[in-house]
Symmetry: C2
């Protein structure tokens, strides 16, 4: 039995990601393929690099894509920047901090973590104290952790890292495009993301940017494949323990030498290019403001439905909110009703929050008034169906008020 062509149901994806892609991003992926060294391809790659400099707010030459999901970008940064035995400090404030620690462990780093309660972030001073104590090679810090919805302030961290000679990496997967991110102004040495959150594309391509200092580290560890090595090419003994994620080689492929590494994932490149293009056409500040507004409307909406918001709201990302599942409401059943009756997906949770909160996202294409209001009316109906006492129309009107006040 061979199934028919792919024919997904209509879905409004209002979870913590992936979210519904911008229509033009979906269209971009059906553009015809070209060869990997076609002048059109190399110029599309160069355009994409320049577009992402705008997205990351950087002048870093080394701004490119890793061909894989967002954790491919994290692993590429980690294995290329960290040598086995290097100390890596990871402040953990949710699941994705654990992931950074885990990936650093796989790279055989000596991993040190500090933790704070889920729903909180770290004061810069706590991170600095840990840096002084641990003396890491690299600080790896999630910007926005969807597991808790928290956004760790990064603006003071780069200066701290510079003061102590520490490389500063941030995973901006969940936050980039919907929250401020200033790679240069904040002193980032490396940052990576994915398309499937605020950038409004599919999972499968990981934008990454590296400072000159980071490029020096990765190029010092470069190894050129025997099959294409030429006399005089260096091959460091201290090579990166991955071919696929060796950023030195990937930079040679994206750079003027165009040295063959992988075959760039053409359709995902088209998608990534379009994600950045729609963001910059609308304006970086405007897109962040749109996320801030949608996020605030959703926050006021769920509060007006009587739901308790999880975590330190002052440090919540713009693009996701976690709400406690009301006593007596069967969380997974209600979530399934949202999906089956309204075609709206909201998110479940991981770890200590599993079964305790739902996560509702307002990201990328779906950081829109109609998406926010539709989600709230459906949620009100479902909460009522499962016995929660909810004020009639309260949620949607509170959210609409936010939009009215902003108009």
């Amino acid at each position: 039995m061979i199934p028919g062509p792919i024919d997904p149901p209509a879905r409004l994806l209002m979870g913590p990601g992936p979210i519904s892609a911008y229509p033009s991003v979906l269209s971009a992926m059906s553009a015809p393929l070209v060869g990997q060294y076609d002048p059109f391809m190399t110029s599309a790659m160069a355009e994409t690099q320049e577009l992402y400099r705008g997205v990351w707010s950087t002048t870093n030459d080394a701004t490119l894509l890793v061909d894989g999901t967002s954790r491919a970008g994290i692993e590429a940064a980690m294995v290329s920047l960290v040598r086995p035995g290097d100390r890596v400090l990871v402040p953990v404030f949710g699941r994705f901090g654990h992931l950074l620690a885990e990936i650093a462990e796989r790279a055989l780093a000596e991993v040190h973590t500090i933790e704070t309660a889920w729903g909180q972030v770290f004061p810069a001073s706590v991170i600095e104290e840990a840096i002084i104590r641990v003396q890491p090679t690299l600080l790896a810090l999630v910007q926005g952790d969807t597991s808790t919805t928290m956004s760790q302030p990064l603006d003071e961290i780069g200066a701290i890292c510079a003061r102590h000679g520490v490389l500063f990496y941030s995973d901006a997967t969940a936050s980039l495009g919907g929250n401020d991110f200033e790679a240069d102004a904040w002193g980032l040495d490396a940052a990576s993301a994915g398309l499937q959150k605020c950038l409004g594309g599919p999972s499968g391509s990981a934008p990454i940017t590296l400072s000159e200092r980071a490029v020096e580290v990765v190029t010092a560890r470069k190894k050129i494949e025997a099959g294409i090595r030429e006399p005089g090419d260096p091959s460091a003994p201290d090579f990166v323990r991955s071919n696929y994620f060796d950023l030195g080689m990937i930079l040679d492929y994206w750079g003027p030498r165009r040295l063959n590494h992988h075959t760039e994932a053409t359709s995902m490149l088209y998608a990534a290019r379009e994600c950045a293009r729609v963001l910059l056409l609308e304006g970086r500040g405007e897109v962040i403001a749109r996320h801030e507004l949608a996020g605030r409307a959703m926050l006021e909406g769920v509060r007006a439905l009587g739901l308790v918001v999880f975590g330190d709201v002052a440090h919540k990302m713009n693009n996701v909110v976690a709400v406690e599942i009301p006593e007596g409401v069967p969380g997974d059943v209600a979530r399934a009703a949202m999906l089956e009756d309204f075609g709206i997906e909201i998110g479940t949770s991981f770890g200590p929050l599993h079964g305790r909160v739902w996560r509702i996202g307002t990201m990328g294409y779906n950081a829109r008034k109609d998406a926010v209001l539709t989600t709230l009316v459906a949620l009100e109906a479902v909460l009522r169906r499962y016995g929660a006492s909810v004020p009639v129309g309260g949620g949607v009107e509170a959210a609409a008020d936010v939009y009215r006040a902003a108009a």
Copy 2:
């Protein structure tokens, strides 16, 4: 300056890959996204697994996609199956043999290679002798190496590996779908590929299949992330030195437990599903026969143009032919003329063949009569323009004869 929407030029991709995708594969990628645990998504994943069992000719339960380009599939197999210090034997008959050796070195294997001249393959007896001498944990063998166009016969190798207790992995990136591949009948423990060759899709997704024996090896090394680990979950000390490529974790994500790992690259999944779907709808044998016919027509065509074919033609893959660039013809200039004047891409070469041969592919969607004949008439015109003495109409009629005889 923000560039316009992606708008690739018309290209007929007749190089060694990537090649022009099937139109329905391009369309599939613009289908709307769904959530990663949406029942539609998990059923699309299960369908894709079943479709690839048909493509690989296997009943392996562990048949899935790695989210990255074809070398992501290779690296996933290698780092998951090979422990640091394990002996890996790689028979090298072209660039991609070197790549397998390189990836095994990155995984800190003790790598042993045997080499044969470019343009040749190995007799099974030579591989068996090397196995006896080296006593490797894993034999890693490219099936079709586009760098030389050769296809290594695999049908006797699985039995040899079984006899000596060696795991048998093959990289079928360049060959799968256009040449016979019998994962079960040939005794493969692991095999991986990409979409951008005979499967007629974009680069960016790597189909992989693992035997039960291979699954035992990878699951013995499983590590579950701290962020989602539950009491009683195992965490092997001998863990895979990669999170992204830990096939044990990836199997848990694709398996009934659906344990979160990466966020599956939805649009690439749609593409991979459609690649397999069009192949199985046409019929696996029929698609291979179409490649054989197109390849034979191209072979007779280039010979009738007076071009010398590189390598041992008896072991040539169906889907690509290498021809020596005639004396006096400027290879790169002529290739550029094919692209600029006719929109047809043919391939250059690597390593010892660089500047010496062109590689012409007939793969996937482009394993078609009109694509073959159009390429030959354009090539005849370009060769003549650059001073080669070519028989008028000889190439195209020789190829057309092959099609006529088959009709």
